[in-house]
């Protein structure tokens, strides 16, 4: 029982990290209907910027985090302007957007690799000790992870559902043409969406760096987030969170009770099964084409 609860706790904390990443995908997907493969590069970029801020520029943590957020937002928005927006203006197929995004990712990750090298680095900040409740360890870092994840997600929710900009983004995600008839500037919305994505990836990167390590390939974990957002249903924020939680818990349970060696095989089978029975994910909308 103790093991079960421990695995559940770990599963939720892993799910919280996946959520943070999955939401980044879902946000872009909901408005622009493509998977932003560049997200994982942004995440590594965010982590390295904060790392550089602390180690080379001797900033306090909060300043380094801010520094990272600002630079990642610039990168994200710049990518939108240079790599995505020209394609969108041409109404290029989604496939092209994906390839373009993969290109951005490849370039970002390898530039980081070139500059910093492939070495793993410890994020220069002390980690916190866990709390034990009846033998079950609840990491303070995990609570923080949960706290930050849900805090960021809550802020995102407030932003999307309680502000004018958020309303604009949501309207654009439903019907971009009609949104422009409301006076919503599509270019401005794009900038805001990718700025928010930048913030999310930077926060995710810094956090992941603190909890684990900073290295150029750290974005590899986003593949799990991608699976999670497909399981939940692409393009919906609550679905992304749901998918992440399910995947996080599933993974720890499989590791704990079946086999940690074959864990990823189960994640994949789970994806296949979900797709067989819920072609649009658990909470996804049908993407039927209009004739």
């Amino acid at each position: 029982m103790e093991l079960f609860i421990q695995q559940l706790v770990s599963g939720i904390s892993i799910g919280a990290i996946y959520s943070l990443l999955a939401v980044g995908y879902a946000l872009v997907y909901s408005v622009y209907n493509f998977t932003n493969w560049a997200f994982d590069g942004f995440m590594a970029f965010g982590a390295f910027m904060a790392f550089t801020g602390i180690t080379s520029l001797f900033m306090p943590f909060w300043l380094a985090a801010l520094f990272s957020i600002i630079l990642t937002v610039i990168l994200s928005v710049g990518t939108e302007k240079l790599a995505y927006s020209p394609l969108r203006a041409r109404k290029a197929p989604r496939l092209f957007m994906m390839i373009s995004a993969m290109g951005v990712n490849l370039a970002t990750v390898n530039i980081i690799n070139l500059i910093y090298g492939g070495v793993f680095r410890k994020f220069p900040i002390d980690t916190l000790q866990p709390i034990f409740i009846k033998g079950v360890s609840i990491g303070r870092m995990d609570l923080m992870a949960g706290g930050i994840s849900f805090g960021v997600l809550a802020l995102l929710w407030v932003f999307l559902y309680r502000t004018k900009w958020g309303l604009g983004i949501r309207a654009s995600s439903i019907d971009i043409m009609t949104a422009s008839l409301m006076g919503i500037n599509n270019n401005a919305v794009a900038i805001v969406v990718f700025a928010v994505t930048g913030v999310l990836s930077s926060v995710a990167g810094v956090f992941y760096g603190i909890k684990y390590a900073v290295f150029p390939m750290m974005g590899i974990v986003t593949i799990k987030a991608m699976i999670a957002s497909i399981v939940g249903g692409l393009g919906s924020l609550p679905a992304a969170i749901l998918g992440s939680m399910i995947l996080g818990i599933l993974e720890t349970m499989v590791s704990g009770y079946i086999s940690s060696t074959y864990r990823d095989l189960f994640s994949f089978l789970f994806l296949i099964i979900i797709l067989l029975f819920f072609p649009n994910g658990l909470m996804g909308k049908s993407s039927g084409e209009k004739l």
């Binding site: 394609l87 989604r94 290109g103 490849l106 390898n110 095989l265």
Partner: protein, 318 residues
């Protein structure tokens, strides 16, 4: 000569696998980032046929390819039945290839546990236990025969190109093109989407499988780490740069992507960065790729022939 041969052989193998991706991504419009998985399946299977069963190597290549093709249905059927769109299918292929690699990494321990098992499901697999151990998991499948040489590869590339050409110009291939251009219209005109996509995936995986087999018989050694996502994205790159709906494009770029980094190995660090920027630039300025929509046919060859050689004659006459 060995070095040049190596480049030709590796380039040739890459061409064959890239042709597979061209059929699926270039012609049918299905985005794959998991073809390394099919290469792995084909490679291991052909190796088993040759090493364990003594099947002649050309036949083993075909059997390996067929095996990869059949395995593709595991992902193809659920994915196409649920009408997965681009992003979903891409992630599913990636998942498939990673799952394949995971299984291959563990063949040895699987085999060992089957061999020592006394009861349960493992007993059913008893006959293949020793084979799984032989595959070696992460240690790799060693001491394979190595009949792959330049001649074999060149012949294989020519045949592969010929049959790919036959396929894409056949009624099946044209149905694939129709699907890539307008899936809904194709279906309304009577194209069976599930069947056609499965055929395209089968042929595509077959090609990857044969390429995997050639690779196995070149290195005389197979390890799951040959078949990583990097390999898959290299193949995709060959098709993206080479061109949509073209065979000759991916053939050229498939080869260049092997040769170019060789010649400029000192820029190796920059290579992936350059690929990355090229992806974006190609999508923005020439999304159809280098030779997009250029069909490889004799008409095309004749035009080039004329351009290069005949022009001299006519102008001399004139």
């Amino acid at each position: 000569m060995g070095y040049i041969n190596t480049i030709i052989i590796l380039g040739g193998i890459n061409i064959i696998a890239a042709l597979g991706v061209a059929i699926l991504t270039g012609y049918t419009g299905l985005f794959t980032i998991g073809h390394a998985g099919f290469m792995a399946l084909g490679g291991y299977m052909s190796a088993i046929f040759v090493k364990e069963l003594g099947v002649p190597f050309p036949i083993a290549l075909l059997l390996g390819g067929t095996f990869a093709g059949l395995c593709s249905f595991i992902i193809g059927y659920p994915a196409f039945r649920s009408e997965l769109r681009g992003d979903y299918f891409a992630v599913a292929t990636l998942g498939f290839s990673e799952a394949t690699r995971l299984l291959l990494n563990n063949t040895r321990s699987m085999g060992e546990s089957i061999n020592t098992a006394e009861s349960g499901i493992a007993m059913l697999f008893k006959p293949i236990g020793p084979l799984l151990v032989k595959l070696g998991g992460v240690f790799g499948y060693m001491s394979l025969p190595s009949p792959t040489n330049v001649f074999v590869v060149v012949v294989a590339v020519i045949l592969a190109l010929f049959f790919a050409h036959m396929f894409v110009t056949s009624q099946y291939g044209k149905n694939c093109i129709a699907i890539s251009q307008d899936e809904v219209a194709a279906q309304m005109m009577g194209v069976n989407l599930l069947k056609t996509k499965m055929i395209a995936l089968f042929v595509s995986a077959f090609y990857a499988g044969v390429a995997g087999g050639l690779m196995a018989f070149y290195f005389a050694y197979l390890t799951p780490s040959f078949f990583t996502i990097t390999k898959s994205s290299d193949l995709l790159a060959a098709v993206v740069f080479g061109g949509i709906q073209s065979l000759i494009g991916p053939v050229i770029t498939g080869f260049i992507l092997v040769v170019f980094p060789e010649l400029l190995r000192s820029f190796a660090e920059w290579r992936l960065i350059i690929y990355g920027f090229l992806f974006v630039i190609v999508m923005i300025f020439r999304p159809q790729g280098l030779l997009g929509y250029v069909e490889m046919n004799f008409y095309f060859v004749r035009i080039w022939w004329n351009k290069i050689f005949r022009r001299g004659q006519t102008s001399q006459e004139g």
